[in-house]
């Protein structure tokens, strides 16, 4: 049963905020504000880029209302105090009544939502929870309820993206956006919430038609776990996913074989054959034979990895299904062992692997 906001135990920040005025200006230009997470991931180019891209992403097929509900439910399932609080506040300023928000977070039969919206909530919870990870058939059910295939695919992307972002929040123990939460729950927030539905309706009317991006699926598929990006061909998100995966594997902070093994372990934990096979292909290119990879995934250890990275294999496994306080304690221990830069990159890789494996349902 998913925890409620005040039930989530949250540690002191594991990564401190870093001042980077140039990056903050860029983030503010693209998102409109600089969040606590942006300040913590600022030193790592591919992670900070993906965080901004995730927050500023404008869905092209999923209606905004559904998008916001999906982000809220996923954050709750992932027990991310930071994202849960921020998404809850966002729902309030968008005019969602407190009673409806409570019903959604308590997983009650919400009379105000139609059958299709309730099915989306169930899908969000199941994909975020991944016990077991839903198969393509779950998306087919959404299509059966009248959603287009593009909407269902984009919904899977949004949940996977939230799973990435939620893990960044949890693993950095990012402090909640208290000021925004206070604003949303205060009188000014209520006023904004009262006019928001009208404003949003007007914005939706003026919204451009779904943008179809002419991407070459073969080009998207070329690169680490590229088939996942290629499965999104046609959506603006495909390029974001590809850039993130390429960036993660090109970054020198954590070695490439360690990152590939981290993906293989998350793939094994969530029974994703594609991810494990793609990770094995990357490792083969780096000179690791199949038996070595088998042993590494089975024992969560490998003698050929750089010594300071050996702790990442058992740790990444604990980022799949976790209890927030326990995984934050483990991540703090990691910080003491391997330092800030490597911990930040490890957090990014773990979060990206969790998002990618969930998104890989599109390939099955």
């Amino acid at each position: 049963m998913a925890l409620l906001l005040d039930q989530i135990e949250w540690d002191e920040p594991i990564l401190s905020a870093v001042d980077d005025p140039a990056w903050e200006a860029e983030a503010k230009r693209r998102v409109g504000r600089v969040g606590e997470i942006d300040r913590r991931v600022a030193p790592n180019p591919w992670i900070r880029e993906l965080c901004v891209a995730a927050v500023s992403y404008q869905p092209t097929h999923v209606p905004m209302r559904l998008f916001n509900i999906a982000a809220f439910v996923t954050a709750q399932e992932n027990a991310c105090r930071y994202c849960y609080g921020a998404n809850r506040a966002a729902l309030k300023v968008m005019g969602f009544p407190e009673a409806l928000i409570r019903q959604i977070e308590r997983d009650a039969s919400v009379a105000e939502l139609d059958v299709r919206e309730r099915a989306v909530i169930e899908f969000c919870r199941n994909l975020a929870r991944a016990k077991p990870r839903p198969s393509r058939a779950a998306l087919e059910r959404l299509v059966g309820l009248g959603y287009s295939k593009a909407t269902a695919d984009e919904l899977a992307l949004l949940i996977a993206s939230s799973c990435f972002y939620n893990r960044i929040g949890v693993l950095t123990a990012c402090p909640p956006e208290r000021a925004f939460e206070r604003f949303a729950n205060g009188p000014l927030g209520r006023v904004v919430g009262a006019v928001a539905p009208l404003t949003l309706s007007l914005t939706n009317l003026m919204r451009r038609k779904p943008q179809i991006v002419a991407d070459d699926a073969n080009e998207l598929a070329d690169g680490p776990f590229g088939k996942v990006a290629a499965a999104l061909a046609g959506l603006p998100a495909a390029r974001i996913v590809k850039t993130a995966l390429d960036g993660a594997f090109a970054s020198p902070v954590v070695s490439r074989p360690t990152k590939a093994l981290m993906f293989a372990i998350v793939g094994r934990a969530l029974d994703c054959r594609y991810t494990e096979a793609a990770a094995r292909a990357l490792l083969a290119a780096d000179g690791f034979d199949a038996a070595e990879v088998d042993a590494a995934v089975r024992t969560l250890a490998h003698p050929r990895l750089p010594p300071r990275e050996t702790a990442l294999l058992p740790w990444v496994r604990d980022t799949v299904h976790y209890q927030t306080p326990a995984v934050q304690v483990q991540t703090r221990a990691l910080l003491n062992d391997i330092g800030r830069d490597a911990t930040l990159e490890a957090i990014g890789v773990a979060a990206l692997a969790n998002g990618t494996v969930r998104l890989a349902m599109l390939l099955e």
Partner: protein, 257 residues
Amino acid sequence: MTTAWVAAAIVVAGGIALVAYLWRRAAQLERLLAESKEQLERLQRLFERFVPGDVVDRLTDARDEFPPLRRHVTMLFADLRDFTAMCDRLDPAQSVAIVNGYFERMNAAITRHHGHLTEVVGDGLLALFGATEPNPWQARDAVLAALAMRDALAQYNAELRGRALPELRFGVGIHGGEVVCGVMGAGEFSKFGVAGDPINVASRIEGLTREHRVDVLVSDDIRAALDAGFRLRPMPPALVKGKPEPVQTYYVEGLRS
């Protein structure tokens, strides 16, 4: 004319009264619904004290009845040594408080390593790894849990010593194999559990900890699933009830630094 106005006023007043009544009734129903939901939530949280949370989630979801299945599961049996004799010496409330403190610490160690406590009988416990969902690292998790239990017991004993209370000692046996998992029992008295020969073997291995005078023993199957990071010492093969051949076990000394 006046009569018509009076009639209209009566109709309007009646309408207003009806709307007010329906409004009040709807509010009452909403409150009732919210209270029922809260009550259900409380029940679900209470239920989670007896059954793993994942199983509760699946059972409360109307579309999932948790059908029985055959699955590879690792079982950890733990039993307190001489606790019954200790109970005879201590005040009952004190005995219960000591054993509850023990279970609380053991449960935390087990949960931290992806296992769940499925059964508590007297001073013994059974924990399962990989029963509610496939877990490729279940043997490793179970042994790490046993080591965490050993550390937790040492800390608890230091507390008990400080309060001039008797210390506790335990034996832990770990074995894995294919078992049937599901909700078992008679109607209202059902619980999530496992059935199969590997459970008996795990229990017998726990029994061997007395014979070998060690605290944590694992079977050969578990040893084969562990990497070189664990320090294991082979014990002499020993006959156990229900097995024609002697059983090879290994004492878990700890982790290599």
